[in-house]
């Protein structure tokens, strides 16, 4: 996998680092955004951004392309929706439940798939995802085409009313920021170091005594769990869990978002997610033109901006001591 993992020995300038300032600015923008932009759109972007970031852990840092991540995203959404609607669980519990189920599913899928590489890994994850899609299609509680509709957003910790859009937005933003911080930590941890080593040269890592499959499996579980979390949150935002989120198109979409944004970067998946969501949003009434425009953008990106959106800016940022 072509990845632009930037491994600068943390630029050590005194005071708050440029990285912190940069992230701070982004955060302020994110806090102010719902006053300027339709919040549900922002939330949708955040959900997909989290999904793409979680996926990127596998593609960008382990070097494995999963083509079945929608199963975590979509199934977690179903579980959260069902828990919130039928069992009346509070949103945070419902989301955690979805996340853990996705991680559990990730453990099983990962266990089966992790020994394979490259296209075989992609295909076996795809195949398993298709099986899970089939289950979703046939299981009664998912309500087929209709999906689970009218999911209550509920009260966060039994207190904060999430049916208020602004409350919901800040809740989603908080989940997103925490999850991204967590991912950043995973990548920049002793564990992350070993992951990078494994991606670079697996036999060598084995010869140094690392049980590489365990590392990959843990990474896969984390990735699956966070993908699930993204799906869970999305099901509350839209009050709906549907087949579209378990379909292979969703798996494909997250690959696109990540590649368009920049593989193996921290901000790339977010940028890619917003690009794709924006295209879909702006051209919703254009009918088949949407697909034409989308296709055109992919083609242009592949031919001209291969490192992704963030990849284009990365050198500029790097010069200023910021990791993209």
């Amino acid at each position: 996998m072509t990845s632009q993992s930037v491994t600068t020995a943390a630029a050590s300038s005194s005071g708050p680092s440029r990285q912190t300032i940069f992230v701070g600015i982004l955060l302020v923008l994110a806090l102010a955004a719902p006053f300027a932009v339709y919040p549900v759109f922002l939330m949708k972007g955040l959900c997909f951004a989290l999904f793409a970031a979680a996926f990127n852990l596998m593609l960008g840092y382990v070097g494995l392309l999963s083509f079945g991540h929608a199963m975590f995203f979509g199934w977690s959404a179903y579980i959260t929706a069902h828990a919130a609607k039928e069992w009346g669980l509070t949103p945070e519990i419902a989301i955690l439940l979805g996340t853990f189920c996705a991680a559990g599913l990730g453990a099983v899928v990962g266990w089966l798939a992790i020994r394979r590489q490259g296209i075989y890994f992609a295909m076996i994850t795809l195949a398993l995802a298709q099986l899970m899609y089939f289950v979703a299609l046939q299981a009664p509680f998912t309500h087929g085409e209709d999906g689970i509709q009218g999911v209550p957003r509920g009260h966060l910790f039994g207190l904060i009313d999430l049916s208020d859009t602004m409350n919901m937005y800040y809740f989603v933003l908080a989940v997103f920021v925490l999850a991204i911080l967590f991912l950043y930590r995973v990548v920049h941890s002793p564990f992350g170091q070993v992951l990078k080593a494994i991606r670079d040269n697996e036999p060598r890592a084995i010869s140094l005594g690392y049980q590489v499959h365990r590392y990959k499996l843990i990474a896969f579980i984390i990735s699956a769990g966070l993908s699930g979390m993204a799906g869970s949150v999305k099901s509350l935002v839209f009050q709906l869990a549907s087949l579209a989120d378990v379909h292979w198109h969703a798996s494909g979409e997250v690959v696109l978002m990540t590649l368009l944004g920049g593989v193996g970067t921290i901000f790339g998946p977010t940028a890619g997610a917003y690009l794709v969501v924006t295209i879909q949003n702006y051209f919703a009434s254009a009918g088949s033109w949407v697909t034409i425009i989308q296709g055109f953008i992919f083609v242009v990106c592949v031919l001209a901006f291969r490192a992704g959106i963030v990849g284009v800016f990365a050198p500029w940022l790097k010069k200023r001591g910021i990791e993209a």
């Binding site: 990845s3 993992s5 491994t7 020995a9 943390a10 930590r185 995973v186 920049h188 941890s189 002793p190 564990f191 992350g192 170091q193 070993v194 990078k196 080593a197 991606r199 670079d200 040269n201 036999p203 060598r204 890592a205 084995i206 010869s207 140094l208 005594g209 690392y210 049980q211 590489v212 365990r214 590392y215 843990i218 984390i222």
Partner: protein, 254 residues
Amino acid sequence: MGDDFIVETKNLTKEFKGFVAVSDVNLKVRRHTIHALIGPNGAGKTTCFNLITKFLPLSRGTITLNGRDITNTAPADIARLGMVRSFQISAVFGHLTALENVRVALQRKLGTSFQFWKSDKSLAELNDRAEELLVDVGVQEYRDIPAGELSYGRKRALEIATTLALDPEMLLLDEPMAGMGTEDVARTAELIKRVSKDRTILMVEHNLSVVADLSDTITVLKLGKVLAEGPYSEISQNPEVIEAYMGHGVGSHA
């Protein structure tokens, strides 16, 4: 002690689809010696390494390390038991810097490698030791360069430093000098000699002067079988070895 065997193989055999690459090799590597494995191309030297470190499953035979049967042990676990190998084709972590390469090896002993919640700054305590190792192999100038950008010879040196970082009691080196310039060869030979003090080394090498210089015992393989074994003085006189490997002396080593 000093006189016992750290690694022993019995009837070590590897068959690839109807072709025997290694056949009934009984190898005994004496503790705290340098043992060389030589032989013509395709004799099965690298395959032996792959078998001993379990990078390939055996067809038959047993392997013991410190008297313990490791025939069915996973490769990563073998490394954990203190037997570490290098590769014939240089094996570094291309996107990590030279320092990080060495540190990845040091890091294992820290026991925090599964801790994805901990900052990687916690690894800084290993930097001093890592730098010492870089100095040992003479690549300290390149500590912050991604290993993929180093020249071939330096990659080999870095690889040795990484291997040594594990502080293994048993080292398997596959053609450590291949691709190195003359001056690097000398330094590396020196280093191998130095680290062999309290370690055991099994090494494959085509550079006969290095082999002659370093090794206590030599095993010659041919067509997967042991052809001869003994010190250099003995081996180099063996007509079969001359016939199969050394040839009649013209231009064999520069």
